[in-house]
């Protein structure tokens, strides 16, 4: 695909800069620019996806320096899928925000495009330090977006989000530093080779560094015990931003998958599957805590936020198994949970904006405008998130359960996933009942000034929901693609050859 | 015309010298490039520094500079002596007032700077209408002589340079 590989990064960056430079005073033009760019991004990433599904990994050497000396981007099935997912999600979010949200503060669209750039960069890069840079890009853009429009609770939560992630960034550097200090490389493919060459006396340092890095990724992926930033952040972020953040946790999961299946995977000798003993138990606890939070939530947004934690737990259970089947299942669930979290946050915002002063508190309030329509949307979103049939969440969970069959922790995995599903069902049932049913027993109706049928937000929410439906209907072909992704992940030699040249692998062990 | 494109000729000269200092070599390339910068930068910064008085008395500047340099050397030795060899209790520190005849801010600033750099005195404040300097003396048994010294030795010369 050549230069197209870098387009998902450069296009949003330039577009954001252009928005700041040329149209920062005109919200309509900002929207036009932003939406156009996102649509173009969808097109580009789709063609990347199509290309990647038919070809092996492809490297793009920035500045024309050969790997591992310069920075490379790598397009493989996984990264193509992730950038496509990002752009789809981004399109929904930007549509939603373009109705009204983007006016509540400054620079929404510029920050949004930068955010897309950061996320895409994180997915495409093949260099750990460059990954750090893109982490920072996406984080700082997310700080800006998270604080969009301000407000006391949001600022308070934002403070925590920023500080925790800054600490995480420090840890990232420490981890990268330790890895570089014993392997002398930053390129992921090269790392996979160097890991096998590390002197035995140095291995302890490498392990420590790699695990610290794992912790950082887990911070992003909101894995217990480093998930604390998520509930406050997601619950208090502006709705479109919270929806966009659905992909942020996935970045963490992606990195776990990428780094620990490539550099510390099968080929890593003593260090093979370094992350596995840590990820799986933590993911199980995460799932439990997340769903406990769902049951405990007193606010709609924190309910959804905790359910996101839970879904990250589920996802990382699958990833933590580190088998091709489980990863394929996990990736399916990842697609699902991205859409369902986004859908729920968007729908929740439609609800909240109609509840006037009652906001998102789960207390009885009178009816509001469009209760029925929103109830349907919410119901669909909720069954998606809870993993109830017939939507993709159920299929995803089935696949994960199925893939966990051979695991030693099978009993734990199964029982926790199933029990927490119930907690999630109960939690969402309570919430839906309060929001949409109890209101019928209260007299009066809340009337909130503003658009009766906000077209773009409804299109966006329905778009997310239809994403879930599409995932369900096309589960077969999608799973087939994902199996290909997982197979490619496990067959690291192609990736390494694509990056380092055909004879790179012959140097292993020398 | 010249004024428009060369608002501060002296500044341009100074900048050219600074550039040569910076690149640390006196070559044609360096000078030409420095000259370009020395012309452009005053143009850019002109709005920050409009209608400033011109300095004409080049001889006066040189004389003043040498005197001050010498005084600085002396001042250092004197202050070092005071610090090292006098008991702190025996130092007669006090603030004195120096009424000013100068009116240009640049001149006043130069004077205040000179005072600070020279023996035993530091300019610590200026009256709000810029007509007096408050000078702190580290050891001044005779405050009036300090004031006279300042007025005669520096202010007079500055007046010639600036006004």
């Amino acid at each position: 695909m050549g230069d197209w590989i870098v387009v998902p990064i450069v296009l949003p960056a330039v577009m954001a800069a252009l928005i700041v430079l040329a149209v920062r005073h005109d919200i309509i033009l900002q929207r036009v620019f932003s939406i156009t760019a996102t649509v173009a991004l969808v097109a580009v990433t789709l063609s990347l996806l199509v290309y990647a599904s038919g070809n092996g990994p492809e490297m793009y050497a920035l500045s024309d320096w050969p790997a591992p000396f310069g920075i490379v981007l790598v397009l493989d099935r996984l990264s193509a899928m992730m950038v496509f997912l990002t752009s789809l999600l981004g399109l929904g979010v930007v549509l939603f925000a373009s109705s009204e949200w983007d006016q509540r503060g400054k620079h929404f669209h510029a920050l949004f495009q930068f955010q897309l750039m950061g996320v895409n960069g994180a997915f495409l890069t093949g260099d750990i330090f460059n990954l750090f840079v893109f982490f920072e890009v996406l984080l700082i853009a997310s700080y800006g977006l998270m604080l969009h429009g301000a407000g006391a609770e949001r600022l308070k939560a934002g403070m925590q989000y920023v500080v925790i992630n800054l600490t995480g960034s420090s840890l990232f550097l420490i981890g990268v530093g330790m890895i570089y200090s014993v392997t002398g490389t930053l390129n992921m493919a090269d790392l996979a080779i160097q890991v096998t060459n590390v002197a035995s006396g140095d291995a302890a340092l490498l392990r420590a560094g790699a695990l610290i890095l794992l912790l950082v990724f887990c911070v992003k992926a909101a894995l217990v015990p480093v998930h604390f930033w998520l509930p406050g952040t997601y619950a208090n972020a502006p709705a479109p931003v919270a929806a966009l953040f659905a992909i942020m946790t996935k970045v963490g999961a992606y990195c776990v998958l990428r780094v620990y299946s490539m550099a510390f995977g099968d080929t890593a000798g003593d260090m093979a599957w370094l992350a596995a003993p840590y990820v799986l138990p933590a993911a199980l606890v995460t799932l439990v805590l997340g769903m406990t939070g769902v049951l405990a939530a007193k606010r709609l947004n924190s309910l959804i936020a905790f359910s996101v934690i839970g879904s990250m737990g589920t996802l990382l259970i699958a990833i933590g198994l580190f088998t091709p089947e489980a990863i394929s299942a996990g990736l399916y669930y990842m697609l699902h949970s991205t859409f369902s979290a986004a859908a729920l946050f968007l729908i929740a915002d439609l609800v909240v904006s109609r509840r006037g002063q009652f906001g998102d508190s789960l207390h009885t309030a009178p009816r509001f405008h469009q209760t029925g329509f929103l109830a349907v949307l919410f119901f669909i979103g909720a069954i998606g998130m809870a993993g109830m049939p017939p939507l993709s969440g159920f299929i995803g969970k089935l696949q994960i359960l199925d893939a966990a069959r051979d695991s030693d922790a099978m009993v734990w995995i199964w029982s926790i996933i199933l029990v927490t599903s119930l907690m999630c069902i109960v939690g969402f049932g309570r919430a839906g009942s309060v929001l949409f049913w109890k209101s019928a027993s209260v007299d009066g109706e809340i009337t909130v000034e503003g658009a009766k049928w906000p077209v773009l937000p409804i299109i966006a929410s329905c778009g997310m929901v239809s994403g879930l439906i599409a995932l369900t209907i096309f589960a077969g072909p999608i799973t087939e693609y994902l199996n290909g992704v997982a197979a490619q992940l496990f067959d690291t030699s192609h990736y390494i050859e694509a990056v380092l040249g055909a004879n790179a692998l012959s140097l292993v062990g020398q | 015309m010249i004024k428009r494109y060369l608002p501060h000729p002296l500044l341009t000269l100074v900048l050219l010298v600074v550039w040569v200092f910076l690149v640390n070599e006196v070559s044609a390339g360096a000078v030409i490039f420095g000259l370009i910068l020395a012309i452009i930068i005053p143009l850019i910064t002109a709005s920050f520094w409009q209608d400033r008085p011109r300095l004409r008395n080049v001889y006066g500047i040189c004389e003043y500079g040498l005197i001050v340099l010498w005084d600085i050397l002396v001042a250092n030795v004197i202050v070092a002596g005071l610090i090292l060899f006098r008991k702190t209790e025996s130092l007669e520190s006090k603030s004195v007032v120096v009424p000013l005849d100068l009116t240009s801010p640049e001149a006043i600033t130069t004077l205040a700077g000179t005072i600070t750099m020279t023996p035993g005195t530091v300019t610590i404040d200026l009256s709000a209408d810029a007509k007096s300097l408050l000078v702190h003396c580290l050891h001044a048994p005779d405050p009036q002589s300090v004031v006279d010294d300042i007025k005669n030795r520096y202010e007079r010369r500055l007046k010639e340079i600036f006004e």
């Binding site: 700080y143 301000a150 925590q160 | -």
Partner: protein, 118 residues
């Protein structure tokens, strides 16, 4: 020399972490700043310590220190500068919005002044 650097990094980390764990925004920000010093030096020291071998190519000189960690640290410094700027502004913005600079979890609107917890 290595010991001095290592202990300095350790000390910076310790102090940064301690301040990071305080319950007000300002010490937290300062703690982050100290921590980022520690991390920057850490990353820098990855290339091992050398004296007077700056990675600036000179005729006849063959020994240079590892330039890559330096480049990485530069990037890290700039990034942490941006982050610090943001968090500084965020902390005053939060302070203005909620009237106190606590980060120890008391809800918005709870009594804030120092006297209530001494």
């Amino acid at each position: 020399m290595e010991f001095l650097v290592a202990s300095s990094i350790g000390l910076l980390t310790t102090c940064g972490t301690y301040l990071l764990l305080r319950g007000r925004t300002f010490p937290v920000v300062v703690g982050l700043a100290l921590l980022s010093y520690a991390v920057n030096v850490f990353l820098f020291a990855m290339g091992r310590l050398t004296i007077n071998m700056p990675p600036i190519l000179r005729e006849g000189v063959t020994e240079y220190t590892d330039p890559l960690p330096q480049a990485l640290v530069l990037t890290a410094i700039v990034i942490s500068f941006g982050m610090t700027a943001l968090i500084v502004v965020l902390s005053i913005r939060t302070f203005l919005e909620i009237g106190n600079d606590h980060v120890d979890g008391r809800p918005v609107g709870a009594p804030s002044e120092a006297g209530d917890k001494n």
